[in-house]
Symmetry: C2
Subunit: 160 residues, 2 copies
């Protein structure tokens, strides 16, 4: 394995690590537990489930792995905070979408070559990418892993 | 900038991003706020401040950047959970140690060449490293960034 492949593997392992932990957490939580706030006055589990699914869904076009699958999640879970009055989909449906999107990402990753990973993600223009070559697809994974880990730290409060 | 330098920069930026956010958070919290639990029945802010400092302090020898500076933090903040009966140092002292360790890491990072970053961290034996070349110094940063982001997500609950 050359160093390029190695670094891609390292970054993807970091992502998969938090996907696995968060997925195990969601699986172990009942629908009733997901309706609770992670801490008094904070986001509910169901909101974070939809929020993470919507954020990960948008990674597909950014990585050129496909289009957004569930655009209907954007308004209730991305553009608006929890308890904004939006009706949420049933929790079993959200669980299914969470699993589906993460599977699509996992299945898509091997189709990207190391060169692809070091190419820009689609939210960066070609001009900006010349000046900021760190804004590549691999960096998107690094940033989204941090986002996921931040919410994972909050979701574990639902567990006990 | 070659690709090796670029990837080191990307990973370090991810780390610095969460260090900055967490540092701004701690700076904006009063000593009184740090004595509160991040959520009912959970760790207190002071514990997470000492815990993150102790974890980051141990990164220095793992990265061959120096020895542990505050071994006295290990028992109250690493080997034992919060509210275990250990007396904690005064908060101003902990704040100083947090700043000091992160500064030592930041100052030490440029002394590592890209080759150094892809070399094993010192908790991995030479034999294991042959089999698992991903267990290098850069990967330690990836893992510790996830750890930091997890606790950052909890600490922001102290803010409002």
């Amino acid at each position: 394995m050359d160093q390029q492949q190695l670094i891609v593997k390292m970054v993807l392992q970091g992502w998969e690590n938090y996907i696995r932990r968060t997925d195990e957490l969601f699986t172990g939580l009942s629908d009733e537990q997901l309706l609770r706030e992670v801490s008094p006055g904070r986001n509910r589990g169901i909101y974070l489930l939809g929020h993470l699914t919507a954020v990960h869904d948008r990674m597909l076009p950014l990585l050129e792995l496909g289009k957004v699958n569930y655009p209907q999640l954007e308004s209730p879970f991305l553009s608006n905070p929890d308890k904004s009055g939006h009706e949420f989909p049933p929790i079993p449906e959200l669980r299914q979408q969470w699993a589906d999107i993460n599977k699509k990402l996992e299945d898509g990753f091997p189709s990207l070559s190391p060169e692809n990973w070091f190419d820009r993600h689609t939210a960066v223009t070609r001009e900006d990418f010349v000046k900021e070559p760190n804004r590549n697809k691999l960096n998107l994974i690094i940033n989204r892993t941090g986002h996921l880990a931040t919410h994972y730290g909050q979701l574990i409060f639902l567990k006990y």
